[in-house]
Every structure is written in structure tokens, then in C-alpha cells.
């Protein structure tokens, strides 16, 4: 066992391997507030990677309705229950001990899935969801907790549901990798993408058992496990479409609701993000702090970050995203002028945006949100690719055009 630093937990933790070399890390921000559950992302992934015999039950990207839905069913409550059983009553955070980038959400005082395992029979606490659990990927779609007769109001709706978009988190401390007795899983130095070597895998399913997000999946037609590959040819720029430049993945680029922004962030050998103020992901996660990791308490340091849904009861969200939830929702409800501009980059380009610049624009509106006055400025945000070349330019106010009445075909 090695000691590694998990900044999402604000502390050191046990992991099977010491930190490796790392240059960049695949990361993404998903804005839950905007998802319409159209599943275009799920289909984009499926029609690219998992349409062959033996992959019928595989959805590397899935969108599930919380709190009841889940693919595989109940994956998260099952893991939470295992962890609670292993460390009853002690899976808690000390949110007061926040400090900078090293402990932005405070300190997790409970145990991770690595720390509750015996390290002899299992490296990680987990379970294998049986086949039946994978067969209803969109079960409980749009099912709310209640339908209050009086309707619902913010800040917390009396009846609620929300969509949770899920891919492999390309974790900094992957549970799948730690669990593989054959060292068939590896994490790439250049982009942090976690892959299963299909030549070495022997289908033991230790990764399926270990991944707390259940994003390693078994394929009986090859007797191996497969997982999201982060569309690595696009990330590498080797997809013919990309002309050699890093491009966002299929599920990101296809997103109809414009909820996804994905890129590569600079990390140090301890897995911490290196300051990169003008990287939009860095800004959202470490400066504005509107986006949070999913179940950080599992301990894998996942790299997909979520802007939590504004209307959902906070205890549920704190369990799912940690103690940073209240600040994140406040920062999203009453955003900084810069945050409003950065949110415009979502789905503005297929090319990965490595940095941005904002050109200030005039004030165009004044609105009131939750009793607080807010001014809207029509700023322009410019995104740059890995070579510093401009790839996108968008304004806060969406340009509109009015069609003359006589041309209206309706």
C-alpha cells in the first residue's frame, strides 16, 4: 500500500500504487441543470463503440433519473451501504477544514473504498451487479419523489428528480486499476485516460467488482471486460476529423442540451491540478467552484465534475457531491460575470478549448434572481486550442434575428 494525496478528500489515503507520472488529465464539467435526458450522448457512444455482439447491455455513457434510476440499478446506494456497513456512522466530512486547492471541500474523515478492503481477498470494497441490474438502463425515467398539489418552488422542490449523466471518470486513483490482479489496466501519462488492455484481460471482473461507478463492463463474447476509452483517438487528435488537434469525445460533442464541456487539465505528479487560470475547466472547478466531483468519498478522485441541480434537497446532494454543494449552487444561482461567459463555451466547439479570453461587452439587462439583483453583460468569450489558435468566439447574448411576417411559413 502506498500513501497518495487525494485533494478532493483533503487528505492522504491508501492506494495500491504510488502516484505515477502525469502530464495532463482528461476532465469534464457536466451541468446537470441543463440536461434534457435526450440520450443523444448515450447513442453517440453506443453507435461509435458498443454496437457489436456481446455489448448489448453496455452503455459506457448513460443518463439516469435520480433518485430512483440507476445503471446498473441502485449502483450508488449499494456502494454507500457497503461503505456504511464497513465504517458505521463514521463516513463524515469536516467541512470546516477547507484550504485552497489542496482541500477545497474540507477533509473526509471516513474511509474510502480502498481503506475498507482487506487487501488480501480484495483491494477495493465493491460488488458485481448481476446481469439483471444492467438490463433496464433507463428505469424510473422522469419519476419524481412526489407531485405536490401546490406545485414546487425553489430553493428546494417538494417533489423532485434530476438527470445524472455518467461516463467513466478516468479517475486519478482508479479502483478498476487497483483491483486488477493481472495489471491489465493502465492509466496513460499523457492524458490520464484509463484503459483495459484487451490483450491481457482474462475476464476476472475484479474491475467490474471494484469500480464504484460501475463503468467497467463484462463482455461474454470476448470473455473480457471493456470500458469507456474516452474516445482517445479524438483526444489524441488522430481522428481524421480533428486535423491533428485534440477534439472532445463523441458523447460530449453530441450533447444537445449543451451541458458538457470537456478538456485536458495540467496536473502534477501528486494528481493535483496545476494553476491554469485561463483553462475553462480549471476556472469552473477551482476558481468559481461551481462544479463538484461525483461521490468523492469513494476515494478514486474522479475527473467528471457536476454543476449540481439547484432544486434538489441539499442533504441528498451533499451525499452525492460532498460538502461543496451549497457554495456551488450559490455560485451558479448568482454567478460571477466571468462564470456567465465561461458557461457559453459549453458545446461551442468540437475542438478542446485549452484557454480562453474575455472581451467585455455592454450591459444588456438587469434581472432579479431569488430576490437578488443581477446585471447581464454581453461579453465575448474566445476559446483557444492547444496551439493557442482561436477556435471559437461566442457572446453571452445569443444573436437573434426576427423573421419578417410574410416569410413565416406557419
Amino acid at each position: 500500500m502506498a500513501k497518495v494525496y487525494n485533494w478532493q478528500l483533503g487528505r492522504e489515503m491508501d492506494y495500491r500504487f504510488p502516484n505515477g507520472k502525469a502530464k495532463r488529465q482528461f476532465a469534464a464539467v457536466f451541468n446537470i441543470n441543463r440536461c434534457i435526458a435526450c440520450q443523444t450522448c448515450s447513442m453517440a457512444c453506443k453507435s461509435t463503440w458498443t454496437f457489436s455482439p456481446g455489448q448489448e447491455l453496455m452503455w459506457w455513457n448513460n443518463v439516469e433519473t435520480k433518485p430512483y434510476g440507476g445503471y446498473p440499478n441502485h449502483w450508488d446506494v449499494n456502494i454507500l451501504a457497503l461503505q456504511e456497513k464497513a465504517n458505521p456512522g463514521a463516513q463524515v466530512w469536516d467541512a470546516a477544514r477547507r484550504s485552497g486547492r489542496a482541500a477545497p471541500y474540507g477533509v473526509f474523515e471516513g474511509k474510502t473504498i480502498f481503506e475498507t478492503a482487506d487487501q488480501v481477498n480484495n483491494m477495493v470494497t465493491g460488488y458485481i451487479p448481476p446481469e439483471a441490474d444492467w438490463k433496464a438502463p433507463n428505469i424510473h425515467e422522469d419519476t419524481a419523489t412526489a407531485a405536490p398539489a401546490a406545485g414546487v418552488t425553489l430553493p428546494e422542490h417538494g417533489g423532485w428528480f434530476f438527470y445524472l449523466q455518467r461516463i467513466c471518470n478516468h479517475c486519478s486513483y482508479p479502483a478498476c486499476l487497483a483491483a486488477c490482479p493481472r495489471n491489465a489496466i493502465y492509466k496513460r501519462e499523457e492524458d490520464g485516460i484509463v484503459l483495459i488492455d484487451q490483450n491481457r484481460c482474462r475476464g476476472y471482473r475484479k474491475c467490474v467488482e471494484a469500480c464504484p461507478y460501475k463503468k467497467s463492463m463484462y463482455r461474454p463474447s470476448t470473455r473480457t471486460s471493456e470500458k469507456c476509452i474516452a474516445c482517445y483517438p479524438r483526444i489524441e487528435g488522430s481522428d481524421p476529423l480533428t486535423e491533428g488537434l485534440p477534439m472532445e469525445t463523441r458523447c460530449m460533442a453530441a450533447c444537445v442540451g449543451k451541458i458538457r464541456l470537456q478538456g485536458l487539465v495540467r496536473v502534477d505528479d501528486r494528481g493535483e491540478w496545476i494553476e491554469d487560470r485561463q483553462n475553462p475547466l480549471y476556472y469552473l472547478v477551482h476558481v468559481a467552484k461551481v462544479a463538484l466531483p461525483l461521490y468523492p468519498q469513494f476515494g478514486t478522485q474522479p475527473n467528471v465534475y457536476y454543476i449540481p441541480p439547484r432544486w434538489v434537497p441539499r442533504p441528498y446532494l451533499r451525499q452525492m457531491f460532498g460538502p461543496g454543494v451549497d457554495d456551488a449552487i450559490a455560485a451558479y444561482t448568482h454567478p460571477e460575470r466571468e462564470t456567465v461567459a465561461v458557461l457559453q463555451l459549453f458545446r461551442a466547439s468540437q475542438r478542446i478549448v485549452f484557454s480562453y479570453k474575455i472581451e467585455p461587452g455592454p450591459k444588456t439587462a438587469e434581472i432579479t434572481v431569488g430576490g437578488q439583483k443581477r446585471e447581464i453583460f454581453n461579453d465575448t468569450i474566445i476559446g483557444y486550442d492547444s496551439n493557442g489558435k482561436e477556435v471559437v468566439r461566442v457572446t453571452v447574448d445569443e444573436p437573434t434575428a426576427e423573421r419578417p411576417g410574410q416569410l413565416n411559413s406557419i
Binding site: 454496437f51 456481446g54 481477498n121 451487479p129 463474447s221 470473455r223
Partner: protein
């Protein structure tokens, strides 16, 4: 069908006790030579005709067996197993080809791994690589002394749709090898042309890899709560990292059995230590009058590992043959 008489309880419990003490991992850690524990000898007799791959071939019923105790793999992650306490092993050779037959009791026949929660029954035999100058660690060998493992699995490749008679698929855009990623990557485990036995090499935990040549054949049969499996390969190994056999000489052999319904796979299994494999130039001895020929009873062995002085206990064994 070959039927074995029940083994007396004292023999199996004695074996299991020993096996627990014989912590494979300790041997590995201490880099100790487990030769001292090789109190069992399996003799491969010269057969008068080709036994083939059928585990129920008549020749086997005339061949003496060795009863090898198995225990849980306790030395290294992923540890566990131990639900199969004993395996009965026989060996023959014919026309410079070695045949090994294993038989064990398992009340659950796990012949499919189409569902993610299913694991198949399996068995393996392990030999030192030809290049090994001494007996390697039974736990996957070591850097300068590799092992050659032949693993048989009860399941075969399949599509989950096979489980559901009424399932419908519109179309699969392509079914070329490329779209079976592991197959395209050259993983023999994913190759439909691969038989039930894989030829593997290892030089430490976590290094098990397919051998360059896949020339080990085998066949399993299940009946009356028992598996019997035959492995076969020509004497000459295709490379230095594989086992080699010569009539009139000895090498080593170890066994492992996986019980699928117990979740056994990889390190989670029931394992033996090394036995001596004597490739005899002699024909199968004629049956004696007695029902069982007890060639050896419990043999004590004390193996001192490092300075620790860890005692290894009794090694219960029986080698016998069944009267015709």
C-alpha cells in the same frame, strides 16, 4: 464412466491441514525451494494405445491415481478459494505425448459465464519451464524460473442473447474480428478457434500470459457431481519457457481447481503444491489383487523457511489404483 471410491476422511482433512500450513505465499516471499515438500509422485506410464482426449477412455480406469490435497490460495492478492479439497490425478504418455487427467468433486456444474455474475469451473496443471534450473515457486514462478500452465475452462465464448430465446437484434453493423476488440488484440481467451485449454507462461504474480504457441489440447466431462478433464501436449515444448518431458526423467507438477459458483477466478482457487512427475518408461502396471494399493501414507515434512522456522505439517497422501 470411471468411478472412484470415496477417500477416507482422515486423508482429506490431513491434506487440507498441511495445505493451509503450506502457505504458498510464504514460499514465494522467502523465495524458498519447495522441493522438500515434494513427497508425492505422480507417474506417467507408457500407454499401449492412444488415450486420446476422452476423460472416460478405458485406459484411465487401469491407471493409478495420486490424491493431491488442495487448499485456498492464501499467499497473494486475490486470495481465496479452497472449496475443492482434493484432486485425483493420473498421467500417461503415448507416442511422445503427455496426457494428464484430473478428477474432482464439485456438486455445481458451472459451464457458462455468459452473465457477468457467472464464473466457470476450471482446472490447471503447472510445470516448471524447460529453462528453469531448479523447482520454481509454485505461485506463478519467479523471474529466473518460470512456469508453464495449462488451463482448461468449462465455458466457451458466447453472446448473452443466447440466454433469451425471444431476444431480437435488428442488425449488427459488422461482425469482423475488429469489432471483438480482445480478439482483434490477439487475446487467445477471446478467440473462438481456441480450444478449452490455454497454454500460459508466468514468471511472477500478475505476469501470467498466453504462450506463443497454443498447442495444448484437452477435454472435460461432468457426471455424477464430478469433473474429469484430460490435458495433452507433445513432450517437446515449442520454446524454453514451456515445459518439456522425456521418458525416464522427472519434473514437477502442480494442480489448481476453480469452483465457478464460489466466485473462483484468478488467485481465488484451490491449489496444490508441487508433486514429482515421473515420466516412466514402463507400461501401466498390472492390477494387484487388492482394491486399493496404498503406495505411501502420511509423510511428515518440516520445512524451515528463512530463520522463522515455520513448520509445515503432515502431508496426507494416498496413491492407489482401482482393481479392474
Amino acid at each position: 464412466m470411471l468411478i472412484l471410491r470415496r477417500i477416507p476422511r482422515w486423508a482429506t482433512t490431513g491434506g487440507a491441514l498441511v495445505a493451509v500450513l503450506l502457505c504458498a505465499g510464504l514460499l514465494q516471499l522467502a523465495n524458498a525451494n519447495p522441493a522438500a515438500s515434494q513427497t508425492l509422485t505422480l507417474t506417467a506410464w507408457q500407454a499401449s494405445e492412444d488415450p486420446g482426449l476422452d476423460p472416460n477412455h478405458e485406459l484411465w480406469s487401469r491407471t493409478q491415481f495420486v490424491q493431491a490435497p488442495l487448499t485456498a490460495q492464501a499467499g497473494s492478492y486475490a486470495a481465496g478459494g479452497g472449496s475443492i479439497p482434493v484432486v485425483w490425478a493420473r498421467a500417461l504418455h503415448y507416442n511422445n505425448t503427455l496426457y494428464v487427467r484430473l478428477e474432482w468433486e464439485d456438486s455445481t456444474q458451472d459451464g457458462s459465464a455468459l452473465k457477468v455474475e457467472q464464473f466457470a469451473d476450471a482446472a490447471a496443471v503447472e510445470f516448471p519451464a524447460k529453462s528453469a534450473t531448479s523447482v520454481p515457486s509454485v505461485c506463478m514462478g519467479q523471474a529466473d524460473m518460470g512456469v508453464n500452465i495449462w488451463q482448461w475452462r468449462a465455458d466457451s465464448l458466447g453472446n448473452p442473447n443466447e440466454l433469451y430465446a425471444n431476444s431480437v437484434v435488428d442488425t449488427y453493423p459488422s461482425t469482423d474480428d475488429l469489432f471483438y476488440t480482445a480478439r482483434a488484440a490477439g487475446n487467445p481467451y477471446a478467440n473462438p478457434k481456441q480450444g478449452p485449454v490455454q497454454n500460459l507462461v508466468a514468471v511472477a504474480f500478475g505476469t501470467l500470459s498466453p504462450a506463443a504457441t497454443q498447442d495444448v489440447q484437452g477435454q472435460g466431462a461432468y457426471s455424477n457431481g464430478r469433473w474429469s478433464v484430460v490435458f495433452s501436449r507433445p513432450f517437446t515444448g515449442a520454446s524454453e519457457d514451456l515445459a518439456a518431458f522425456t521418458a525416464g526423467t522427472s519434473t514437477d507438477i502442480a494442480f489448481a481447481v476453480w469452483n465457478g459458483s464460489e466466485g473462483d477466478r484468478n488467485g481465488r482457487k484451490s491449489v496444490s503444491s508441487f508433486l514429482t512427475l515421473n515420466v516412466s518408461g514402463a507400461a501401466i502396471p498390472e492390477p494387484e489383487g487388492s482394491d486399493w494399493l496404498v503406495l505411501a501414507l502420511a509423510a511428515g515434512a518440516l520445512l524451515v523457511i528463512g530463520g522463522g522456522g515455520i513448520g509445515l505439517g503432515l502431508y496426507g497422501l494416498r496413491e492407489g489404483k482401482r482393481s479392474a
